[in-house]
């Protein structure tokens, strides 16, 4: 499923990286420790996290995740948005928890 289709069906608020909405989502990774994300997230994963600072964009770009969802109503920082737009990494904000978000993704058929 493409990011563009997921975002409509999951009703997420996109804050950055629209040019990456053609990325294909394959599976989900949930994590806030960046070293673990670096070593465990797979290419194409949708990454759910509560980190919102600029460095999540570097991590996402280095491991080629398809998009980032920042959970729990945490607002993404302005610098993060600018960096994500530059590197074409879609970022979404959601009030839902990582658990609720993963249930939604499974309902959408992302596994």
């Amino acid at each position: 499923m493409k990011v563009s289709e997921m975002l409509v069906r999951a009703e997420l608020k996109q804050v950055a990286g629209e040019s990456g909405n053609g990325n294909e989502i394959q599976g989900v990774y949930i994590g806030d420790l960046l070293s673990l994300v670096m070593s465990r997230a797979l290419e194409g994963n949708l990454w759910i996290t509560i980190q919102a600072h600029e460095n999540i964009v570097a991590v996402a770009s280095l491991v080629d995740v398809s998009a980032i969802v920042v959970a729990e109503g945490i607002h993404v920082e302005v610098d993060t948005i600018a960096k994500a737009n530059e590197l074409d990494i879609p970022i979404f904000e959601s009030k839902a928890s990582a658990f609720e978000l993963s249930k939604t993704m499974i309902e959408l058929g992302i596994q």
Partner: protein, 143 residues
């Protein structure tokens, strides 16, 4: 390792500069992709470069990262100006970290950096003198 160098780049990494942390690693990834190296190798090199870069930002007074691409291997190394690692064996243990609270709140300091680098390397070496600095060399074989 052959003497022929396909590409070589140097990066200066500043202490506590979280804003641009990851830029050098992103550049290294870009170069390796442009050279047509296989994706699994590029991924391993990206992880190594990022962990090395973050280590310089969090744990040192600043230092240099160096990329050298040879026909049969990729070498990423760092050299910093201190403060050095008191107990290298302990620093290589998964979960052990001396990162401060700010770094931990940002999701760094999981104690996974050096173990991740070693795991992704075909050859890995580290030398540190407490009070002086640390030198790390990671090599990935091509093919």
């Amino acid at each position: 390792m052959t003497e022929e160098i396909v590409a070589s780049f140097d990066y200066q990494i500043e202490k506590d500069d979280f804003k641009i942390a990851g830029s050098a690693s992103s550049h290294i990834k870009k170069i390796l992709k442009q050279l047509g190296l296989p994706n699994p190798l590029v991924r391993r090199a990206s992880i190594i470069a990022y962990e090395l870069e973050i280590n310089l930002v969090i744990h040192t007074v600043g230092g240099a990262m160096h990329l050298e691409v040879h026909p049969n291997c990729v070498v990423i190394s760092t050299e910093d100006m201190g403060p050095g690692i008191e107990d290298v064996d302990q620093a290589m243990t998964e979960g052990y970290s001396t990162a401060n609270d700010t770094a931990r709140e940002m999701g760094f300091g999981a104690g996974m950096g050096l173990p991740n680098i070693r795991r992704c390397s075909d050859e890995f070496s580290i030398r540190s003198t407490f009070g002086t600095g640390t030198w790390i060399r990671s090599e990935i074989h091509v093919g």
